[in-house]
């Protein structure tokens, strides 16, 4: 078109009017530059928006819509039969039964054994039923079958969630805890896979309606059966905390190997009187023996010398007062001591009493990191998603979260923790076993009457750690079931 105009303009003689018009046209062309530029800028921004939306759909959308806040997932239930939840060794722990009339019921064959891991599928959902809801309501069976079902207006079978939970270990942990309240969590240190997670008291998810009603009645208002103690229970860490005190002491005193202290069973530090457990006299101890024998006075002796600002930093590096790399509901652990705290708070705090609180999950991450050369692996509960025919749809990979100590530090701590289980407080339990263990016991007072919870955190096969456990048994004072006895049963189950 432009060409034509020019041609005709060339051929025709120009009068005053046309000349003026041509000049205007030329002026206009220059004048138009900002418009062209702005148009390009705008189009470019829309190109960005366009690509962003496509990127969102291709890369982020799957993760976003799996969010448990997305109520649209419920609409899928009309077209999909909810998939199963299975253990890594193929045991079905949650399934949907469909009767001849098409009524669906969610069935949990092992009742309360997997209660807190699996969760329930009503009242807003919890556990894997919540976090994996979206995946179980999606069907990845082959397209022909899907179309066939759609034409018949039949529901498609949803995908199955294969958890990282190991049936044998879960059963061992569940049995070992017995009728006591408490929690067990078993982690594979080099991957972060959660192999077992038990919380007691538990409930039978098959009867969630009654459980729900009871918990929300007046008598049941103090019930904590729905609480997953493994991730939400906050406990004083007791002597398991001494690992952190020791590490800080080692960092501040490079000559820690020369440390020596004579334990007379009690002592006064910063005007606070400290006693060793059962008023035992540990005699002269070095750092290794202090940990092995869990000597309170020696640890307070070390602890009162620490730089509280640095110690607070170490605890925060160890994920106190901060988020844990866990996708799901959990409680945050707290450590409140810092350089501004009253010095009379130091003695109790450095041996794991005082205001410090930790979840079994968090303690499991700390002991796993020691087993894994100082690196915390992101703990996770789902290994993969399979379609109804067993083909893998999505595989979850293990991811490292962060390094919280030097490999050399992890090595030394492992050495000391091994002594705990060969000559120290846990030695009696692991005297005649086929595997080696490194760990730390803890007896944490939770009131002023001397009532205690019993802790054990540790890992087996010290040279190349297999599994790490974190166990808390409540009311040790009355039920006499110690954390370490539960740990032994779990290790036994693993190696037999």
């Amino acid at each position: 078109m432009k060409k034509k105009k020019q041609e005709s303009a060339q051929k025709l003689p120009e009068n005053e009017f046309l000349k003026k018009e041509r000049e205007k046209e030329e002026k206009n062309k220059i004048k138009n530059k900002p418009i062209i530029f702005t148009t390009y800028v705008m189009v470019f921004m829309f190109l960005g928006l366009f690509c962003y939306i496509i990127y969102f759909m291709v890369v982020d959308a799957d993760r976003v819509i799996a969010n448990s806040g997305n109520k649209r997932q419920d609409a899928f239930e009309e077209k999909i039969v909810r998939g199963n939840i299975e253990t890594s060794d193929g045991v079905v722990i949650a399934e949907t039964l469909v009767d001849s009339e098409g009524n669906e019921t969610r069935n949990y064959p092992y009742k309360d054994m997997f209660a807190h891991v699996v969760g329930y599928n009503s009242y807003g959902r919890t556990g894997l039923e919540l976090s994996m809801n979206f995946y179980m309501l999606r069907s990845n069976i082959n397209i022909f079958e899907r179309v066939k079902n759609e034409l018949r207006e039949e529901k498609n079978p949803g995908d199955n969630v294969i958890s990282t939970i190991n049936y044998e270990l879960q059963k061992a942990a569940y049995d070992a805890l017995g009728d006591n309240n408490g929690a067990v969590i078993v982690i594979e240190p080099d991957t972060g896979k959660i192999l077992a997670m038990v919380s007691k008291p538990a409930y039978d998810p098959n009867n969630i309606d009654e459980v729900w009603e009871e918990v929300h009645s007046e008598e049941g208002s103090t019930s904590t059966v729905l609480l997953n103690r493994a991730v939400q229970g906050l406990y004083a860490p007791g002597s398991t905390f001494k690992i952190l005190t020791l590490l800080e002491y080692m960092r501040e005193n490079p000559d820690y190997e020369n440390y020596s202290y004579e334990c007379t069973s009690s002592g006064v530090f910063n005007n606070v009187s400290i006693h060793c457990a059962s008023d035992r006299v540990h005699g002269v101890v070095d750092v290794a023996q202090s940990l092995a024998k869990s000597c309170n006075t020696s640890f307070v002796n070390m602890g009162v010398t620490l730089d509280m600002e640095k110690f607070n930093n170490l605890c925060e590096d160890f994920m106190y007062n901060s988020e844990l790399p866990y996708e799901g509901t959990y409680s945050r652990s707290s450590f409140v001591l810092d350089e501004n705290s009253d010095i009379s708070e130091i003695p109790q705090t450095v041996i794991g009493q005082g205001k410090t609180q930790i979840t079994p999950l968090h303690n499991a991450l700390i002991i796993s990191a020691i087993a894994n050369g100082g690196v915390v692996m992101k703990p996770y509960l789902v290994d993969s998603i399979e379609n109804a025919d067993g083909a893998v749809v999505k595989k979850y990979k293990s991811k490292s979260y962060k390094s919280i100590m030097e490999p050399s530090e992890a090595e030394i701590l492992t050495e000391y923790l091994t002594e705990v289980c060969t000559s120290g407080t846990a030695a009696d339990y692991f005297a005649n076993v086929s595997y080696s263990v490194a760990g730390k016991t803890g007896t944490a007072e939770y009131d002023n009457q001397g009532n205690c919870n019993s802790w054990f955190i540790g890992f087996s096969n010290v040279d190349d750690p297999d599994i790490a456990v974190s166990i808390v048994v409540e009311d040790y004072t009355s039920n006499r079931t110690s954390g370490v006895s539960v740990a032994k049963k779990i290790f036994d189950a693993y190696y037999n």
Partner: protein, 458 residues
């Protein structure tokens, strides 16, 4: 059976949508008027096919007679509009009328699904708007000295903007005081003020000869924006600012005004953030935080945006199908967040095509501005084009988490009487410019033909 028909129709809608979008752009590359007209006629066919399939799906799913009646009414109005507007204004841009009809119809489709009564209300007001705004080009063609009324534009604009502060008249919604209520009728003065603002800036820039003129113009423009800040309508403020900067850039042809303007704007945002983040802009901070980390606040400030992302993501590229999604879970899904509802049920592909249609209308408008040789009309048309497309960017970018959400409507698609009317007025002004452009070109052609005849006659 219904399932299969609806499912297939869903794909037909996507196919015709893609074809319509392609025609929006092949229009610009078409060689002559004949092939352009062919393009435009095909577009009309696609509009009606998309509209037909959408209403068929909704009728089959919901089985309500009123949907059929409403469908017939829409078709009637759309055909009349397209036919009558072009028989009156032979020189008007048909691409723009096609896009107006299409965007309105898309809005009706989604609103019918979300809330039937809102859809009817929108249809009634938009139809009235189409009739009234059809007179605008004719009226403007009669008025010769539009560019001399800058004082009027400025005073009228500011006065209208301030009405929201009159007690008993102005009301607050979603944290901004930018609505007025007369009886049961509510409107957003800002929607109309933005047109007056563009006229004001254009008139000021045309007449400005000295630096003082420009500064006075800038000061009054700034007054508009300050009022908007006081209304806590930050989306509108950004819109006005960008329009102003772009128009100054056009008038001066100096890139420094573009760079400086955008830079100054960014600086002002940073400064405003530092000074007023806890006071004047506290509700903005909620939005910014929701934008940075929506899932952390998904039960509070991030609720809207996460629901919007859930809708878009769950719908997927091809959508859940009309009536099959849950757009009602997104707050203000009928207005600011209608794009998410469209993506959820009609598909992200539909949404992406919609974006391209908005962009093509913008390019059509800037093309008209470029052809226009009268500075005032050129500035006005360009200002309108920028205002329109930037509003689309703010809206769609906001609901997709591309940028923080600012609470502006999606032109012609979102429910909102003020928004639809003001957009129709803006398009009419552009049509008016296009008619002038064509008249001028005709004059030149006639003169050439006359000379040609003279030459041939000699």
């Amino acid at each position: 059976m219904i399932n299969i028909i609806c499912e297939l129709s869903k794909y037909f809608v996507l196919i015709f949508m893609a074809l319509y979008t392609i025609k929006c752009f092949s229009y610009f590359t078409a060689k002559d008027k004949k092939s352009r007209d062919k393009n435009l006629n095909k577009q009309i066919v696609y509009i009606f096919l998309i509209h037909f399939f959408c209403y068929m799906i909704m009728f089959l799913r919901l089985q309500q007679m009123r949907i059929l009646i409403f469908y017939a009414a829409q078709i009637f109005v759309a055909i009349l509009y397209i036919l009558i507007f072009h028989s009156i204004y032979k020189d008007a841009s048909r691409l723009i009328t096609n896009n107006i009809s299409f965007l309105l119809l898309v809005g009706y489709i989604m609103l019918t699904r979300i809330d039937f009564s809102l859809a009817v209300k929108q249809f009634a007001f938009a139809t009235a708007g189409l009739i009234v705004t059809s007179f605008i080009p004719a009226i403007l063609l009669k008025i010769k000295n539009l560019k001399n009324w800058s004082v009027f534009y400025g005073i009228a604009g500011l006065a209208l903007l301030i009405t929201v502060f009159i007690p008993g008249l102005g009301i607050s919604r979603y944290g901004s005081r930018n609505w007025i209520q007369i009886g049961s009728f509510t409107m957003q003065p800002m929607e109309f003020v933005k047109i007056l603002f563009i006229f004001f800036v254009a008139a000021g820039l045309v007449k400005a000869v000295t630096l003082k003129d420009i500064i006075v113009n800038a000061a009054i423009a700034l007054a508009f924006m300050l009022v908007l800040v006081l209304e806590r309508d930050l989306g509108a403020m950004v819109l006005f600012y960008i329009c102003y900067v772009m128009m100054v850039y056009l008038a001066t042809s100096r890139i420094i005004f573009f760079i400086g303007g955008v830079g100054l704007g960014a600086g002002a945002i940073v400064l405003g953030y530092a000074l007023f983040k806890d006071t004047l802009f506290s509700h903005v901070m909620v939005r910014v935080n929701a934008w940075l980390n929506p899932f952390q606040y998904q039960d509070s400030g991030g609720y809207q945006i996460t629901q919007s992302l859930f809708a878009i993501g769950t719908g997927g590229f091809t959508g859940s199908g009309l009536t099959e999604g849950m757009p009602y879970l997104i707050p203000v899904d009928e207005s600011d967040f209608i794009f998410s509802a469209i993506c959820e049920e009609l598909g992200v592909i539909f949404g992406l095509a919609l974006i391209l249609i908005f962009v093509s209308s913008f390019i059509a408008m800037t093309n008209i501005a470029m052809k226009c040789k009268k500075p005032f009309n050129k500035y006005v048309t360009f200002g309108i084009a920028v205002c329109y497309i930037f509003q689309v960017l703010l809206n769609i970018g906001g609901v997709t988490k591309f940028i923080p959400s600012t609470g502006v409507t999606l032109p012609l698609v979102s429910y909102g009487v003020s928004s639809v009317l003001s957009t129709l007025i803006m398009f009419s002004v552009v049509q008016y410019t296009y008619i002038i452009v064509n008249k001028e070109a005709d004059k030149v052609e006639k003169e050439k033909a006359r000379i040609r005849a003279e030459v041939a006659g000699e």
